[in-house]
C-alpha cells in the first residue's frame, strides 16, 4: 500500500507553501508522525509529520519549491499505508484530453478512464488487485486536476459565459489572462470592444509574444496611404522593417510608463575634467559621461533586480548577468550592441567597451552575439540635444533609460546655512521607461532615485 503525502493547509487563506527541507531521503524509512519535511508559508514555518509509516519512495518537489496546498509532494510505501484520503467523485472527471504526464507505479493493466460519467467501479479492473486502488485513485485525482484546468478555460465563469452568449463569442477560442488561462470578464469585454464582436465571429486574441520574428497582427488599419505624383517611394531596408516590427511589438507587449528625473552631473563633469587627459593617455579612449552612467545603472540593477528581468508567460526570469545594451544611432538606422557582464567592468573598461562597440557598429563590424542578450538598455538622445524622451523598451527587457542632454543650467542651491542662491550646474534629464506589467511606479522611482544618488554623491574610481 502506498500513501501520498500532500502539502497541508497551514491556516485559512494560505494557498501554498514552500518546502524548505526534506528531513528524509528517498529510500529512508519514516515512522508515522515523524517529521518528514519542513515548510514555510506566509504565516508559519513548520515541520510536517509523516501521515503514515513506510519507506519514502518518491519525492516530487525539491527544496525551495513552492507548492499549492493539497498537491502531492511525496509517496510512501509500506504497511499502515493508506490511499490519498480525498478520493474525488469520479462523476466529475472529464476524460483527460492529454496523455498522463507521468507513468503511475506498476499496476495491472487498467482500462483507460471511460468516456463521460462513469461510476468509480467501472474504472477498477475486474480482478481484485490491492495495488491498483491507489493508482486508480491517483489517476482520478490527476484527471480531475487536469479537467479543472480545462473547465476553467471552457466554462470560465457564470458572468463570462453570459457575456459570451449575448455576443456570440466562443470563449474556448480566446486566450485569457486568468487562472489556468481562464478568460476573465475584462478579457472578454476588451475582446468584444476590440473586435466589435459579431455573432459567430471568432478571431483569436493573440497572447503577446516576445519574439521579434513574430509577424505583427494587422492593426485595425487605417486605409493604406497611396503615393501621388511627385512623391518618392522607397522599399524599407531589412533593418528598418525589423525596427518597425520590434517597436510596435514592444508597445503591444509592455505597458510602457516613463518617469523622468533631473540629475546634477556637476560632480561627474568635474571628475571628468580632472581625469580626461590622463585617462586618454592611459587608455587611448575618450572619457565621456556615459561610463559613469553605466556604472550607476549597474549598481541600480543589482539593487533592483526586477529591472534586469524578463517576462515569460506568468513567470518572471531574473537574469544573473547584467548585459547593458547601448543604443547607437547609425546613418542608416539604429543598432543596440551589448556590453556583456557590464558590472564586471571598471569605468575604463566600460569606456573602452562602449567606444569599441559604437565604432564597430558604425563600421558594420559587430558580430551577431554582440547585439544579443541585452538585459537593460541605455539610450542617449542627449548627444543630439534632446532634453528627454519616452524611449520604447527593447524586448524582452523590462526597462530602458534615456539620458538627455547634459548642459549647464541655473539651479537654486542651498548653502549649509540654509541660504538659497542660484548656481550654474551641469544638469540632465534621465527618462526611465518601464514595463508596468511587472514593475510598479514606486519601484521605478526608487530605481531612478538610486541612480541619481549614485551620480550625485557616489564614489567612482577612474
Amino acid at each position: 500500500m502506498s500513501t501520498e503525502v500532500v502539502m497541508p493547509q497551514m491556516g485559512e487563506s494560505i494557498a501554498e507553501g514552500t518546502i524548505t527541507k526534506w528531513l528524509k531521503k528517498v529510500g529512508e524509512r519514516v515512522e508515522r508522525d515523524e517529521p518528514l519535511f519542513e515548510i514555510s508559508t506566509d504565516k508559519v514555518d513548520a515541520e510536517i509529520p509523516s501521515p503514515a509509516a513506510g519507506v519514502l519512495t518518491e519525492v516530487r518537489f525539491n527544496e525551495g519549491d513552492t507548492v499549492e496546498v493539497n498537491s502531492v509532494v511525496a509517496v510512501l510505501d509500506g504497511e499502515g499505508g493508506q490511499t490519498v484520503s480525498a478520493a474525488p467523485a469520479v462523476e466529475e472527471v472529464k476524460p483527460a484530453e492529454k496523455p498522463q504526464p507521468k507513468a503511475e507505479p506498476p499496476a495491472p493493466p487498467t482500462p483507460p478512464p471511460p468516456v463521460e460519467a462513469a461510476p468509480p467501479k467501472t474504472v477498477e479492473p475486474p480482478t481484485p488487485a490491492p495495488v491498483s486502488q491507489p493508482a486508480a485513485a491517483a489517476a482520478a485525482v490527476k484527471a480531475l486536476e487536469e479537467s479543472i484546468e480545462e473547465l476553467r478555460k471552457t466554462k470560465s465563469s457564470p458572468l463570462v459565459r453570459k457575456i459570451a452568449q449575448e455576443h456570440g463569442v466562443d470563449i474556448s477560442k480566446l486566450e485569457g489572462t486568468g487562472l489556468s488561462g481562464r478568460v476573465t470578464k475584462n478579457d472578454i469585454l476588451s475582446y468584444i470592444e476590440s473586435s466589435g464582436a459579431r455573432p459567430g465571429s471568432g478571431p483569436i486574441i493573440e497572447a503577446p509574444r516576445v519574439t521579434p520574428a513574430q509577424p505583427i497582427p494587422d492593426m485595425p488599419a487605417s486605409p493604406a496611404p497611396k503615393p501621388v505624383a511627385g512623391d518618392h517611394v522607397e522599399q524599407m531596408s531589412v533593418m528598418r522593417k525589423k525596427i518597425a516590427e520590434h517597436m510596435v511589438l514592444s508597445r503591444r507587449t509592455s505597458a510602457h510608463v516613463t518617469t523622468v528625473y533631473e540629475i546634477d552631473m556637476t560632480r561627474i563633469a568635474k571628475l571628468r575634467d580632472t581625469k580626461r587627459d590622463d585617462f586618454y593617455q592611459r587608455t587611448g579612449t575618450k572619457l565621456t559621461f556615459m561610463p559613469f552612467v553605466f556604472e550607476a545603472v549597474n549598481k541600480a540593477l543589482r539593487k533592483f533586480p526586477i529591472f534586469n528581468a524578463q517576462v515569460t508567460g506568468d513567470q518572471i526570469i531574473y537574469k544573473q548577468d547584467i548585459n547593458l545594451g547601448m543604443a547607437v544611432a547609425l546613418d542608416w538606422g539604429l543598432i543596440v550592441p551589448v556590453i556583456k557582464r557590464a558590472d564586471d567592468l571598471s569605468i575604463s573598461g566600460l569606456a573602452r567597451a562602449a567606444n569599441d562597440l559604437a565604432d564597430r557598429a558604425r563600421t558594420k563590424q559587430l558580430k551577431p552575439d554582440e547585439v544579443a542578450g541585452g538585459t537593460f538598455t541605455i539610450t542617449n538622445p542627449g548627444v543630439f540635444g534632446g532634453l528627454f524622451g519616452t524611449p520604447i523598451i527593447n524586448q524582452p527587457q523590462l526597462a530602458i533609460l534615456g539620458v538627455g542632454k547634459i548642459e549647464k543650467r541655473a539651479k537654486v542651491l542651498t548653502t549649509p546655512d540654509g541660504d538659497d542662491f542660484i548656481g550654474i550646474r551641469w544638469m540632465a534629464y534621465f527618462a526611465l521607461s518601464f514595463d508596468h506589467r511587472v514593475i510598479d511606479g514606486a519601484d521605478a522611482e526608487r530605481f531612478l532615485a538610486f541612480v541619481k544618488e549614485q551620480l550625485e554623491t557616489g564614489d567612482f574610481s577612474v
Binding site: E12, S156, S157, P158, L159, D440
Partner: protein, 342 residues
C-alpha cells in the same frame, strides 16, 4: 467585575454632537434617547455607579437616577428576562452585557422569548441588547467573542454592529426606537481608537437599520465586511491600490436583516467578492453571504466568492497566536490578489 466603586466626581452630560470616539458616540446616543423618551432605561452589571466596564453608561446614574439606571446581580438571564418583561409593559430597556461572550447565559430568553414574542402574540419587545464584542485586544477566549452567528439563524432578532462613531450613535438611537429586539454589538477595539474620532452632527439623527454603507468605491473586487474588519479592509485596499487593484468596501452595519441590494449591486459591478469577518470561518456570516450571492448573483460572478475569517478555534490568549487566529491586512491582501488573479 463585581466591585462597584463610588465615583468621586460627577461625569458631565456629553455634548450633543462634536468630536467623539465610538464609545462617546454610543454614550451620547443613549443619553439623548433617555432625555427624549422617559421609557428608555439602562440595565446591566455595573452600569450604574461604576459607569459600565467600558464607561459607555458613565454619568447616567447621576443624571437619570436609580430607577432608570439599574445595576443587576451577575446574571445575564436575569438581565434579559427583566428587559423583556419591562419591554412588554411598555418600557424601552437598553440592556448591557459586560462582554458579549456572556450573552450565551441569556440565550434561551433571547432566542425563544424575545425573538418570538411578536410572532406568537403580536407583542412587541422594543429592547436593545448591547455589549462589547471582538478580538485583537488580548482578552483571551472568554472576553473576545463575536457572537453574531449564534443569532443569525434566529428569526426575529435584528443585529447591528457599527464601525464608525457616526454610525454608532445613529444605530444605537435607531435600535432604541425600533419596536423589536435589536442586538447591538460594539467592537471593543474601536471604542477609543483615535482613528475613529470624528465630528458628529449636533442635530438628532439616526442610521437606518438594514442599510449597508459603501466605504470605498472600486471596480476590481468587492470586500464585504463590518466592524473592526472595515479598517483591516481599508488598509488592505490601500496596499492593493499600489498594485493597481481598485477595491470596493462595503460595511454591512446591519447583519440581520442583510442589505442584499447593496451587496448585489456592488458584486454586479465588480464581479468578484471577498467576505471578511472576525468570527470563525465555519458557520460564519461569510458563508451566508457567499451562498446568497451564488443564489442571486450567480450570472454576475467572474470568480468564486472567497471568505477570509478567523480560524475555527477559540480566541487564543497568546498575542502571536491571536494575530495568527485573526485575519490580518496581509491575509486580506493576498486573498484579494488571488481573487483578482482568478
Amino acid at each position: 467585575m463585581s466591585t462597584a466603586v463610588k465615583k468621586e466626581h460627577k461625569s458631565a452630560r456629553p455634548e450633543r454632537g462634536g468630536p467623539a470616539t465610538l464609545v462617546e458616540a454610543i454614550r451620547q446616543g443613549i443619553w439623548e434617547e433617555m432625555e427624549r423618551d422617559p421609557t428608555v432605561f439602562v440595565i446591566g452589571e455595573d452600569v450604574g455607579m461604576y459607569g459600565g466596564a467600558f464607561k459607555v453608561t458613565d454619568g447616567l446614574l447621576d443624571e437619570f437616577g436609580e430607577e432608570r439606571v439599574i445595576d443587576t446581580p451577575i446574571s445575564e438571564g436575569a438581565i434579559v428576562g427583566a428587559a423583556c418583561g419591562a419591554a412588554l409593559m411598555g418600557m424601552r430597556p437598553v440592556a448591557e452585557f459586560q462582554f458579549i461572550d456572556f450573552i450565551s447565559a441569556g440565550f434561551d430568553l433571547l432566542t425563544n422569548y424575545a425573538a418570538k414574542c411578536r410572532y406568537r402574540w403580536g407583542a412587541s419587545i422594543p429592547a436593545v441588547f448591547r455589549g462589547p464584542c471582538g478580538s485583537g485586544v488580548r482578552t483571551g477566549p472568554f472576553h473576545s467573542l463575536n457572537a453574531e452567528s449564534f443569532f443569525l439563524n434566529t428569526a426575529g432578532l435584528k443585529i447591528v454592529e457599527p464601525s464608525t462613531a457616526y454610525d454608532a450613535k445613529g444605530l444605537i438611537k435607531a435600535a432604541i426606537r425600533d419596536p423589536d429586539p435589536v442586538l447591538y454589538f460594539e467592537h471593543k477595539k474601536l471604542y477609543r481608537l483615535p482613528r475613529l474620532r470624528e465630528e458628529l452632527p449636533s442635530d438628532d439623527y439616526i442610521v437606518e437599520i438594514g442599510k449597508a454603507r459603501i466605504v470605498r468605491e472600486g471596480r476590481d473586487l468587492s470586500i464585504i465586511t463590518f466592524g473592526a474588519m472595515v479598517l483591516t479592509a481599508l488598509d488592505a485596499a490601500a496596499e492593493l491600490e499600489k498594485e493597481g487593484l481598485d477595491v470596493e468596501i462595503i460595511d454591512l452595519r446591519t447583519l440581520a436583516p442583510l442589505d442584499k441590494q447593496t451587496i448585489i449591486a456592488s458584486v454586479k459591478k465588480t464581479s468578484r467578492a471577498l467576505v471578511l469577518h472576525e468570527a470563525s470561518r465555519t458557520g460564519g456570516i461569510g458563508g451566508e453571504i457567499a451562498a446568497m450571492l451564488a443564489e442571486e448573483a450567480f450570472e454576475w460572478l467572474d470568480a468564486p466568492v472567497i471568505r477570509v475569517a478567523s480560524i475555527d478555534t477559540p480566541v487564543p490568549y497568546s498575542p502571536p497566536l491571536e494575530d495568527y487566529y485573526l485575519p490580518q491586512t496581509k491575509d486580506v491582501v493576498s486573498a484579494a490578489r488571488k481573487l483578482a488573479g482568478y
